[in-house]
């Protein structure tokens, strides 16, 4: 394992120290327990957005803390859900009196830890709404599984709901916007290579020199299918077909197209993928109204990409365009 780290046990702490040193204008960092909060938190009269998850997906979530997006992020160990005490402390630190939304990606660990945290917070009188993101069409959704994983839609939800919160919309409405984003978004990912969890020291999975993992999860969970390497055009076709056929996209729709790098994918490839996606959607009569291209929800150094489509409406578009000032996403200010 070759990584730009010191001791694997210290990676998250040292990353936080780096973030604290780099962005004092945007965030403040707490170490016991770990969380990252907006520099100006709590913002009085604003619904606060708290998210979190395992580390190793940077810039998500810590890089999305700031004006117009998250109020706090709780980083777990690499690929491991954070703990309830982190979420509880973060929630208290950013609660501006108008309630807090917990944005939870649908993984058993995240869901259970956030559940315990919400119980603790509510016991102390905080108003907490939990929303679960589950947009990954790679996973069969059924009563007999943990359900779909939360992936790319999380980034879009944090931006759009963050803008709504900034406009001082009430708790219920902000939480409903989150749910609305979730039900109008679908994602699918694929990997060209595995990633290596620092503490594990060896690749999470093995892929042949001519193999790809279609439908991979953001923690290197195996996907739908292992298959032979394909062209970008074939790969996009498979992913976009799975997404579009799942609903809710149809001819005439306006979408936000998010082409995401998994961490080890060069930008040049993401633009090749975007080009293919653009052609694919044009063929289905779907218009890309907004886009996001880059590595925003990553899996350490995994090479590969994911595609997320969000069906847009006027409110989503205005909220997406609203100013945002975070280390990972910034415009309008």
């Amino acid at each position: 394992m070759k990584k730009l780290i010191n001791d694997p046990a210290d990676v998250v702490r040292e990353e936080l120290q780096g973030i604290e040193a780099a962005h004092p204008d945007l965030v403040k960092v707490a170490y016991d327990p770990f969380y990252i909060a907006r520099a100006d938190a709590p913002v009085k009269g604003k619904v606060a957005l708290v998210s979190g998850g395992g580390s190793g997906h940077e810039p998500m979530h810590g890089g999305f803390v700031g004006m117009g997006m998250l109020d706090a992020a709780c980083p777990g160990e690499v690929f491991t859900s954070p703990t309830p005490d982190q979420m509880e402390a973060a929630t208290k630190a950013v609660d501006g009196g108008s309630g807090v939304v917990h944005i939870v990606k649908n993984y058993t660990g995240d869901v259970m830890n956030f559940e315990m945290a919400a119980e603790l917070c509510r016991a102390e009188g905080a108003e907490v709404e939990s929303v679960v993101v589950d947009d990954d069409v790679a996973v069969q959704d059924s009563l007999y599984t943990a359900g779909r994983r939360g992936v790319g839609a999380t980034v879009l939800m944090e931006k759009i709901a963050g803008a709504a919160a900034e406009q001082k919309r009430p708790l219920k409405e902000v939480a409903d916007i989150c749910r609305d984003v979730n039900s109008n978004a679908r994602s699918m990912g694929m990997a060209l290579t595995s990633c290596t969890v620092p503490a594990a020291g060896s690749p999470t999975f093995e892929l042949g020199d001519d193999e790809i993992e279609m439908g991979v999860g953001i923690h290197g969970e195996p996907g739908r299918d292992r298959m032979k390497m394909k062209t970008a055009s074939e790969i996009v076709d498979m992913m976009a077909t799975a997404i579009v056929d799942d609903a809710p996209f149809s001819n005439g729709d306006q979408v936000l197209a998010f082409v995401n790098g998994m961490g080890g994918t060069p930008l040049i490839e993401l633009y090749v993928v975007y080009n293919e996606l653009n052609k694919f959607l044009a063929g289905r009569g779907i218009t890309i109204a907004r886009n996001l291209i880059g590595s925003y929800i990553t899996s350490l150094e995994m090479a590969g990409c994911s595609i997320t489509l969000l069906k847009m409406n006027d409110d989503f578009t205005r909220l997406w365009d609203a100013p945002v000032k975070t280390a990972g996403l910034r415009w309008g200010v």
Binding site: E77, T80, G109, N113, T145, A146, V197, H219
Partner: protein, 226 residues
């Protein structure tokens, strides 16, 4: 009723230390199991949690076994993360609730505690038998322990039957298709792999059986019926 053998506060402390050592020793193999059908962190997570437990356990000096278990549970909740954190945290918290105020625990106490712990894990994780989770080791362990007591086994013997059942349950997860947790994303592809959580749970029950096997550290007392 059989001759009463019970477990002291120090036995429980010793158990926690032994289990922490066992987790440390099996850290890599647990993580490898998790890399086949999960995200390659179960051993790492459990080890981080139990190292923290080791760091904390000697600061608890109440002599209250329930308080000790609760401390273990709280420590796990705040250091393990992932699915393992809330689940093992709940398991030990419930052991603690069931043994609150006791400075020794009997076979009956343990049976009740195990029952509470398994219920807690199921309430938190919503897993049933056969979902390919730690529950598949815990339920047989609980049931075998209770059955052994009914059969008149003493504590060491019952613990051995409980550990055997946990291991059988663990092995039985291999062919299963996961319906809960991260492995459920794999669908059919999860079959053929042993569940990491069931493995760490079976290891817990085996460690209990070995630690409280009735050697010097486990005191045999007069039965005091009641």
């Amino acid at each position: 009723m059989s001759e009463e053998v019970s477990v002291s506060y120090d036995d429980v402390v010793a158990l926690m230390k032994t289990y922490a050592a066992a987790i440390a020793e099996n850290k890599q193999s647990l993580t490898e199991l998790d890399s086949a059908i999960g995200d390659a962190d179960h051993g790492i997570n459990m080890d981080r949690g139990f190292q923290a437990v080791i760091g904390k356990i000697d600061t608890v000096t109440s002599g209250d076994i329930g308080a000790l278990f609760k401390t273990v549970g709280m420590t796990l909740v705040s250091t393990v993360g992932g699915a393992g954190g809330p689940l093992y945290g709940t398991l030990f918290l419930q052991l603690g609730v069931a043994t609150a105020g006791k400075d020794r625990i009997t076979a009956e106490d343990w049976s009740a505690a195990l029952t509470a712990a398994v219920s807690g894990v199921q309430a938190r994780g919503k897993a049933e038998s056969g979902d390919k989770t730690m529950v598949d080791a815990l339920i047989p362990a609980r049931d075998a322990f209770a059955a052994a007591l009914t059969d008149g086994a003493d504590l060491p013997a019952a613990l051995r039957r409980s550990a055997d059942a946990a291991e059988a349950g663990m092995t039985a997860t291999i062919p299963l298709v996961a319906r809960k947790g991260r492995a459920s994303y794999l669908g059919e592809r999860s079959a053929g792999h042993q569940d990491p959580g069931a493995t760490s749970s079976a290891l817990l029950l085996r460690t209990v059986a070995d630690a409280w096997a009735g050697d010097a550290s486990t005191t045999t007392e007069e039965a005091h019926d009641g």
